[in-house]
Amino acid sequence: MSVWDYIVNLIPNLAHNLRAAVAGGPDWLVFLVMGLAGVLALVAFVMLQVPPLTWVERRLVARAQVRMGPNRVGPFGLLQPIADALKLMTKEVIVPSSADGLLHLLGCALIFIPPFMIFAVVPFSMGGVFTDLNMGLVYVIAVGSLGAVIIFTAGFASANRYSMLGAARAVAQLLSYEVPATIALVTVALAAGTLSLSGIVMAQTVPYILYFPLALIIFFIGSLVEVNRSPADLAEAESEIIAGYHTEYGGFKWAVFQLAEYTHMVAASALIATVFLGGWKGPGLPPYLWLYAKMLAVILLYMWIRFTLPRIRVDQVMAFAWKFLLPLSLINVLVVGLEVALAPGLPVWLIGINIPFAAASIVVWAKVYRALEGPPRLMQRRELPGITVPLSAETPAGSVR
């Protein structure tokens, strides 16, 4: 076996070597060592990405805003994340007196867990996966919705009204977007014929982004909401509810929430890269580098969106999920199901059908949605007793428009 082969199959080879090293021991020892090594490797992989990502995001947003960004600590400000972490670690940890101390702590301790658990089933190369669950997609969805509970814990325990509002928003939107995102993943499962993420990667001779652009768009929007990124960062909308569910967290606890935000983003990008962009498959480079490059592309897209787009209002987020994305995803499942039944093996000409279909279905459904809803009737002003504000509907004279 050449060195290049060893590098290409680095993860299975390392696992094999480790297993060989402890092979003499009892079964439970092998199980424990292999498990711990895997967990450590995953945690290190995810955690080590966060500081560079914060640096990248800050530099990029600075460039988008015609300024320099961090450039004082180290060359190009590369050590800035470390300086920030040190500063945050030295700060006093304050727990509000009315807060529930234990839940307050649990909120920030547990927030990491769902994104890490997602990485358990993400394949980094052929055979390079922590545990190849045969229902990996179901597992991913189940773990993903855990985040809502933890965010609610954090917000509820803070005993702060901003936190409570943020927590309520987070639960509402996370649960709503689970539905269309899950149905979007169903199309992929239908086409691949398996729920295992490794199986889905193997099934992608052509990346599914070309076969199922509509499912990708729906899942991408859903993931934007689930990782709490702009334009759906309602749970921590700084211009409205200060910091949402983590308003009452300071110092290192706050840093934990920031880290969690990035780990969520990394996990979501890994999922999108695996399911829609062909996972670790790619020519030339080792497979884990391919996966990483695809993840990075998705992360950069997340960042770019954050720099540009304003935030959606909470009722619009919900309406968009239930009235727009959900019917669209159901239509998508129907069409993909028919395609899989009538043209098994996903011939390449399906791409030529599916891309215009995605564009057409968005446009048509938008029109139908408009027609059903009537003219853009936005947030209805609630009629309240004791308020005598006449709302005149007629267009005033003297308009230049």
């Binding site: 460039r63 805003q65 300024r67 320099m68 450039n71 770019w304 540009t308 787009l309 968005i362």
Partner: protein, 174 residues
């Protein structure tokens, strides 16, 4: 419609991100040269021109300038005390505008942080010592926009010479 408006905004941001150089200045290393009319902290006061008339003190909205004079031998005033309180000064420039004898000028300095409050009340001694080295601002004296009155040399030349000397003429260093 259908996200085209969003795409337009994202294109603008991408264009800026990729092609626009930063607009900001890295302050301690790079400095923006204040314009000639800058109303800065380091006042320039020429004792030989000052008659002690206290018009500047009267014109000051805050009452920051304290002047004490004594009668001299030949029907003139000696300025005993000329204190400008930088702590309360808002650099409105009304004192410079009021001075009938062109004895008081604004300066070009803006870094006047200090560890002691007393150091920010600038008196006659400091002003006298600083007057020959400072370049008066051309605020309310547009004729100085390109000429420095102390030496008569054009301003850019003086600025250059000053940079070569590389000495801080701010109040903070004193």
């Amino acid at each position: 419609m259908y996200g085209t408006g969003l795409m337009k905004g994202m294109a603008v941001v991408l264009k800026t991100m990729l092609f626009k150089p930063p607009f900001t200045v890295q302050y301690p290393e790079q400095r923006v040269e204040p314009p000639r009319r800058f109303r800065g902290a380091s006042f320039v006061w020429y004792e030989d021109r000052c008659t002690g008339c206290s018009t500047c003190a009267k014109a000051c909205p805050q009452g920051n300038i304290e002047i004490v004079t004594s009668a001299g031998q030949y029907n003139q005033y000696f300025v005993e005390k000329f204190d400008i309180d930088h702590l309360r000064c808002m650099f409105c420039g009304l004192c410079v505008e009021a001075c009938p004898y062109d004895a008081l000028f604004m300066g070009g300095d803006f870094e006047n942080a200090s560890y002691s409050r007393a150091a920010l009340v600038v008196g006659k001694k400091l002003l006298n010592a600083a007057a020959p080295t400072r370049i008066p601002s051309s605020y309310f004296h547009p004729e100085l926009d390109h000429i420095d009155i102390t030496s008569g040399r054009p301003v850019p030349e003086i600025r250059k010479a000053e940079q070569e000397k590389n000495q801080d003429i701010g109040w903070a260093s004193r």
